[in-house]
Structures are given as C-alpha cells and as structure tokens.
Point group: C2
Chain length 288, copies 2
C-alpha cells in the first residue's frame, strides 16, 4: 500500500517505521528533514512538502505538535488539501481539537476523500513497542480500511463515533490524568513534609483505593529526581487547553481540570519547565 507520513518525531518516527516494516511503500515528510533519515535509510522516500505526500500516497498519516501545525499541513499553501484527490484517506494522529478534526473531515468529504482523527496514548515507549491505544473518530467504512494499519502500532484500537470523537476520547483521557497527576504530586508533597518513608507509603497506597497508573509510574521517578519526559509537560498543557476550550463550547465547567491547567501554566510558562515530563509539576510546589 502507498502510505504517507507527515511528522516523524518521537511518536511519528517509530509509528512510521512499523508501517514500513509491514511492507508498505512509505513517503515521508518532516519539517526538520534529518528526522526522516533513518526511515529513508530503511527504504522510505522523502518528499519536500505535505502536498507531495498527498500526491504520492493513498493513505496519509500526520502526527505533528500543535493544532496550528495540523492546520498548516492540511490547509496551508503546500498543504495536503492542495493536492488531495478523491478516494484517498487522511488520518490525523496528532492530539488536536475535535473542532479541527471535524473541519478536516468536512474538507476531505467535499473532495470525495475521507478522514479519520486517531490520537493515541501510550507515549514513546508505546510507539516503539507498538502497544499504543488508538482512539478513532470517523465513518465505519473508512475505519475498517485503516484498522489493519492501526493494528501494526496499537494493541487497543477502537472507533468512538464520527469525526472528532477520537479527539474527544483523548480529551477525556487527559482530563482523567489531570486528576491523577495533581493528586500524585500533592500526595507526595504532603507525605514528604510529614516525614513519611515514601517507599512504604507508595506500597500501601498502591494496594488500595488510591491506586493509579500515574502514581505507580511517576512517583518513583520523582523520588529519583528523574524529570525526563515520559510525556512533555508542554504537550500536556496543550491538551488541557484543548479540553477546556471544548468544554467551554459545550457550556461545561470543569474546575479541577481548569486548576490543573493553571498549575501546568505555572510550570511551563512561568518556570519554563515545559520540556520536563509531566511529573515535573512537583517543582512548582517548592516555594508555593
């Protein structure tokens, strides 16, 4: 199959490699060309613009940074839609806005093409090990055509409804994690100041009603002073902003999520710690 992949960074790179390994013909584009080098060495073809990717490939994947980047690669001058033709499929795997996902799907439909939104969770490790969770929005028929490709990179792949529903599911996921992250960090700040043995506390809390993935994975890293990103704080902040914008459009108030966003703003914008992992949030509590 002729596939395109736009955005071959820490997430997109390994995903593209899995698609290549599965025997597909792969056309790649990345703003920083060097990040496509290993894929090209393994047989992929570099193209100079998203438009050329859209011309060469039948199914075009994208995984870039921010919704503004998605907007640019789809609707920009040398963007995908400048060259997309009927029968092709675009798949945005960026965590982006449900609203933009609907806009892309509408634009694709108008030219006889189709679109899926397919954000993932599971991080760089999940991308490397092909154990991602893929949350898909779009029509059933298009989903069925792309599903075998998703299954090359994900162990949990599910269609949540029409365009935008994949992004909405990812937002629900991030809202949940806002709670487990702020809880984990504040629990640790309290327990450390109370003079508790953290290893004992974590063992006990993990065995009961307080158990959660964030605590299990990030609390031990914090104890070792390891703030390297499993997931970049700046990207999590982006996600929370999207979630709250969408909530606002639905006339919903989510005060705990809004507070988590404020705390990550302090970390990312004020303290310039956006390249730390999400567990670095604990640093803002030092002189709070």
């Amino acid at each position: 199959m002729k596939l395109g992949f736009i955005g071959t960074g820490v997430m997109g790179g390994p995903i593209a490699q899995h698609l290549l390994d599965a025997g597909n013909e792969l056309y790649v584009y990345n703003r920083t060309k060097a990040k496509t080098d290993s894929l090209v060495a393994n047989g992929a073809t570099f193209e100079d613009t998203p438009a050329q990717i859209a011309q060469q490939a039948n199914i075009i994947f994208s995984m870039v940074g921010y919704p503004s980047d998605v907007e640019a690669i789809y609707f920009g001058e040398e963007g995908i839609f400048s060259r997309l033709t009927a029968g092709k499929i675009v798949v945005d795997m960026t965590t982006s806005t449900p609203t933009l996902a609907v806009k892309i799907a509408d634009a694709a439909k108008k030219m006889g093409a189709a679109a899926l939104d397919a954000p993932v969770s599971g991080g760089d490790v999940g991308a490397q090990n092909a154990t991602l969770t893929v949350m898909v929005g779009g029509d059933q028929e298009t989903y069925e055509r792309v599903k075998p490709l998703f299954e090359k990179v994900g162990q949990s792949v599910h269609l949540f409804g029409e365009a935008g529903k994949g992004q909405h599911t990812k937002m629900a996921n991030q809202i949940m994690i806002a709670g487990t992250m702020t809880g984990t960090v504040e629990m640790m700040v309290y327990a450390q100041h109370a003079g508790l043995n953290m290893t004992d506390v974590l063992a006990t809390l993990s065995s009961g009603g307080a158990a959660n993935w964030s605590m299990a994975n990030y609390a031990p890293r914090i104890l070792k002073g390891d703030y390297t990103p499993g997931f970049f704080a700046k990207h999590f902040l982006k996600d929370l902003r999207i979630a709250l914008d969408e909530a606002d459009k639905m006339h919903l108030k989510l005060p705990a999520t809004a507070l988590a966003k404020q705390l990550y703003e302090t970390m990312v914008d004020d303290k310039q710690l956006g390249d730390d992992g999400t567990q670095g949030l604990i640093k803002i509590y030092e002189n709070m």
Copy 2:
C-alpha cells in the same frame, strides 16, 4: 485477651466481630447502644461508658466519626483517660488528625500506658472481609504487641513511624483519592456531553495511563445512577479538611486538594448530599 471496642458502626462493628471471633474477651461501647446488640448476642459485654471499657480491657480500640468524637471519648468526663492505667494500650482507628494522635500518645505515655493511631482504608467491604489496609503510627514495641490483632482485620498492616504517622499516611491516601475522584467525575461530565459511549471510553481509559481504582469502581456506579456510599461524602470532606489543616501547619499549599475540598463542600454543605457516596460529586456539575 481482654479487648475493648468503642464505636461499633459500619466500620467498627465488623472489626470488633473479627476480634471476638478470634477468641478474645470483648467489651463494647457505642453511643447508640443498639449498634452493639449483635456483638453482645455473640458474647461481647456492653459497658455504659468509655471509662468502663478502659477499666475492663487491656487493649482498647476506638473507631468513631469525627476528631471531636475522638477527643470526647478519650478526654471527656467519662472518657478513656479518666480510668486508663499503666501497661494498657489504646488504639484509635478513626481517621482523625495527626495532631490529636500525638496528644493521645503523650497523654497515654504520662500514665505509663501506650497508644497507636491506626486508621484504615478499604471501606465497609474491607472491614467485613478482613481485607483492610491498616496504617499505624506509634512505637515499635507497642505495634508488635497489637499487630496480631490488626492482622485479624487487615491484609496490609504497616508501621509508618511514631505517633501521628498512621494518620499522616491516611491523609496522603485521601489527597491522592481527591485527585482520582475529581478527575473521574470531570472526565465523565466531559465524555457524556461529548456524546461518547461511556462503556467504550471506560474500557479504553482503563487500559492505559489514565487507569485508576476510583474510575474503575465508581464510574460504573455513576452510569447506573448508583450513589449509595462505598464511602460517605461527608466523611471524605472531613478527611480533606484534616489534610488541609495539617498541610497548613506544615506551611504547605495544596491547591488541587483545596479545590477538591471546596467541591465536596458544595456537595455536602450546600446541596446536603453528604450521605451519598463520594461518587455523588458528579451531581454538583449539573447546573454548575
């Protein structure tokens, strides 16, 4: 062994029964006498005051509602300390303040007795099935003497340090749960308004980085409209107030926990829903 148990409610009742089943001589007191009836029918002896319990028993357990109740049964006119003698042990299993736990330990020590603070997690089901988590503070020697009794009711029993450290560990547990509960509730509010299939969302979120005990246990109950208490909202609010008071004494700011407390105040104080379970928090989002 001659044991005393003060406060034989939804938690204390089953715990006292396990201690009785283990072959101990049991003296019981409860403000509402009827709640001791089944224990008395099974061989326990009712006493009219905490003071008389302290006189009859060598190890006296207490599990009541609020710190003010703990204060009353220990330091009140017919309280435990009016009749406690050297060599005896008092064990407060109420979730109460670390500060009060230290005060009780100091008072016990002055009369040649000893004290443990030993709050639990695991709820009424844990109490019935003897699968509680017991978080203990006090000296090692006293702990070793009472440990075999804790093991009759708990599957995870641990000494976290001197007096007050059991309560501090329980506070850490509740701070963590404040995050998982607000996150679970706001995730559900968002996902439901976004028109997602909640069963699918929960299955997907549970398999990744958003996974947590509160979501796994309470989200399905919310979907069924089941707000019966696994844990009373009014008691959780009490715990969050204690946690934040203690944080304040340590000059710590815990903004996410403080917000969770505010949200539970809206539920318990403004909406009078304190007898619902903690999952009832979602009701305050309806017209927020």
